[in-house]
Symmetry: D2
Subunit: 295 residues, 4 copies
């Protein structure tokens, strides 16, 4: 099977590499010729443009792009993939974008005779390299069955979330909750310590009580509570604060379009925006606790 891959950034590049490892024939394109060259060295066919990728006529085309504006730009319109592909193609967009855009693109694809899944991921660059990503997939069950082996070459957990766009819905809902939880853990830890508790003791109690959550157990934001968490190495690595900010923006925008209030989601977004303005956007998102600690 011949797969085309569009978007070779920090995530797309190792994902594409894993497809090569799994034995797929691969054609790739990215605006960075370096990124393309790197994959070519590993055995991919280098394409110099989206047009060249289209001309290569892959059976399956996977995209991993930064935002909805890029996804819509690449897929839609008279110059877009959906119009240009000369045969029905199986499309998988792994970008994290808002559900409304994902559905708009999927609808256009299906109307033009293509099949399409939205399949945003979680797991970060580590997961992309280790092929342990989680895919949250929106689209028909049949289409997911077809794509299953491809996704399994890049990830570990493949979850069917329902119809087109629901992969994005699941991601946006989960990550909004993640952002809220992280700020909540930051506030609870900082408050407890300010009131005289030892951080490790407090984390231990929370983790065996009703306050426990992923952010307290796996990525506790208080320094030196968890040896291997970003908080214990200056908040380097991990899932960047500006990426969390982006996802919270997707969540509140999706909420606005669906006329749904998200009071804490919006508050968390604003806190990450303020944090970014102070110059901390590249730190792991657990660094938000800096808003609550004296310098």
């Amino acid at each position: 099977m011949h797969i085309g891959f569009l978007g070779l950034g920090n995530m797309g590049s190792p994902m594409a590499s894993n497809l090569l490892k799994a034995g797929y024939q691969l054609s790739v394109f990215d605006l960075s010729s370096n990124a393309v060259a790197e994959l070519a060295e590993k055995g991919a066919q280098a394409c110099a443009s989206v047009q060249a990728l289209v001309a290569a006529a892959p059976d399956v085309l996977i995209s991993m792009l930064p935002a909805a504006v890029h996804v819509k730009g690449v897929y839609l319109g008279s110059e877009g993939l959906i119009e240009q592909l000369s045969k029905p193609t199986f499309l998988i967009d792994c970008s994290t974008i808002d559900p409304h855009s994902a559905r708009e693109v999927a609808k256009a694809a299906q109307e033009a005779g293509h099949r399409m899944l939205d399949a945003p991921v979680s797991g970060g660059t580590t997961g992309a390299q280790a092929a342990t990503l989680t895919f949250m997939v929106g689209g028909s069950a049949d289409d997911l069955q077809y794509a299953q082996p491809i996704l399994q070459a890049m990830g570990k957990n493949i979850t069917h979330c329902g119809d087109s766009g629901n992969g994005q819905v699941a991601k946006v809902a989960n990550n909004m909750l993640l952002g809220i939880s992280m700020v909540g853990v930051a506030e609870a830890m900082a408050l407890g310590v300010a009131l005289g508790m030892d951080a490790k003791v407090l984390a231990g109690i929370i983790n065996t009580s009703s306050g426990r959550c992923w952010s307290s157990e796996i990525n506790n934001p208080y320094p030196d509570v968890l040896e291997n968490a970003p908080a214990s190495r200056g908040y380097s690595g991990g899932f960047g604060s500006d990426l969390m900010l982006k996802d919270l923006g997707l969540a509140t925008e999706a909420a606005r379009l669906s006329k749904q209030p998200v009071m804490l989601g919006a508050a968390a977004q604003q806190l990450y925006q303020a944090f970014s303005l102070q110059g901390h956007g590249s730190l792991d998102f657990s660094a938000i606790i800096k808003l609550y600690l004296k310098e």
Copy 2:
């Protein structure tokens, strides 16, 4: 050993019963003579006043009262327990109050020659009846060792949180995080469903992803996601919204006194206050999702 027990409400009454079951000699007092009579039938010595309880000269005195104003009223001042007790007594306050008040009372007790622990609980009336409460204990390790068998007659998990007041700190920090998480889960579930997802599928994804928390796994607020959760029986039973409101008030007040910001904690408090104003204070605290669902 002779134990005095002060405060026989929904929590105190079953706790006192469990002390009787464990074989302790028990003297009890409450403003409700019915509550006192009920315990007397089970074998406790009925006291008609705090003075009578003092006169009974227990070795250990446990209190379980609604708020700091009652705790301070009972313990402090020239008419208070600390002054009136004729011999050094081991005091255990199981009320949930703010850490500053807990420390004020403990300090007064210790200066008068008594030993004292703050030991707020979680687990609700179910835990109180089944003797499966969690105790979060503040005070010296020696004092906790002394009280251990008594607490074990009423609960299952006894956690040492550090010095006086730290039991309250742990409870307040954990419950603030719990309140934030619950609102966060409510927002994420309501958003996901509004965007077209099935509630059970979404909960399943969150519970295996980074959004997972006690509120999503054990007390999911969306109706019919968890068969035995309050959300699937009209939000009856459980931990009342107004009790969560009280705990969030303790948290923000403790934060104010320690000059610590708690942005989401304060937002959660205000949401529960608005919810209470709309007449829903007696529902389980997961009912906060009503703010996010169309009637």
Copy 3:
């Protein structure tokens, strides 16, 4: 001078009427043929389509549309006004949309040889009828000078806000502050009354103190404080809550795109969204005080 007018809703219709009264030659189009017919009776030339309006070749073209999606749809693309107009035309968009979209349209217009102003209004349907609207104008000073008599036929205050898009910026910034102030006044009034004050006395004090603002002086949300305010007639008339919700959405979206935090702006948006979900979107935006009063 021949003016084309596109969009004859509650605002556009009386604005167009005022241009007729001022003696301008007018061609009009709207999707509602009734609205077109009504203007035709007053002396306007009825156009059956955007194409017909283009064919009428007006010197100036004014649009008053509900949202950015309509403005972009009408102006941009190969079928859009900017491409289709056969001669350089003076364009004035009076719609309230986000600044980024306004600038995108203005840039496209200018590149195609047209002149363009963004000129959103405040003053509501009353102001539109009485020709007392305020115009917040973005574009060059020369262009504003040219348009001045036209705008003065429809309004009273014409403010130059700077370059293209700045009319929208001014409106969005002002209305975000208005929404925040209104919620603030609602909270302050409800709190003061709950604490035992007379509403009129409290309003009087605020209006002569540092809390005074347009929302407390002109549109006080507490019933019966101001005889002629919407609050004293069941919140009918006035500026609808859902219109405030729309403007707060424009503000937070513009803030997101410019990486600017707006914590209270976002909170106000969410409160209006929750209020709308409860079915109150058509009430005057001062009705938000209902969130703070017992039924």
Copy 4:
């Protein structure tokens, strides 16, 4: 008439001086002997203790203290003023405290045969020196009439807010709204400028539109919009951020006790708390805009 004055801080000291200037006989006490000595030089009778002040048997006793804990400490209990004063005395507490405490003290005073007003002020140290303070007075109309000349010696606007405690209610409600408005203006100005507007032009538009408020007109937080505002001199002078934080704390605490939601009030409090944690508490409260501007 002989007046006793208790509390000679930044506010109390100039207020007491103005009473001397108006010809009143004055006895003063403060924990700072320097402050007492300074007033003594101007003609006041120095008292070395509260007891000495009581012994001086003034007809009217005015207090100006930092917080409720001091007011209650001085007035209540067997050692307090209310018990110790040997004759019915006219009491005026000018401290800013929570309404519940104010009412508790007033009730105790009245039960002991004294008359009492709560009369918190606004106008800052400048107003205290120039005798242009605003007094917000709670108590009976008769009592206010009696006190009128005394208050007029220290201030310009004397407002009757209703029964005991209502002076505090008015202050707390007004200042909560002031804090919300200031943050709102900060967000609107920072957003508008980030989107490309000139700060002075934007302020001009807001001040003639529905966003206008005291904070935009008199104390605009954006630098160099108003020549004489704190924002144009590095935020020195003015009403300190930590004083605004204190008043927002009084408001949210009063709201909690009266079961009233104050969502934006609580959010503003938390923002000032975060700002204070970053070390800016002594700057004018308009400096909160720093949270919204890049360094």
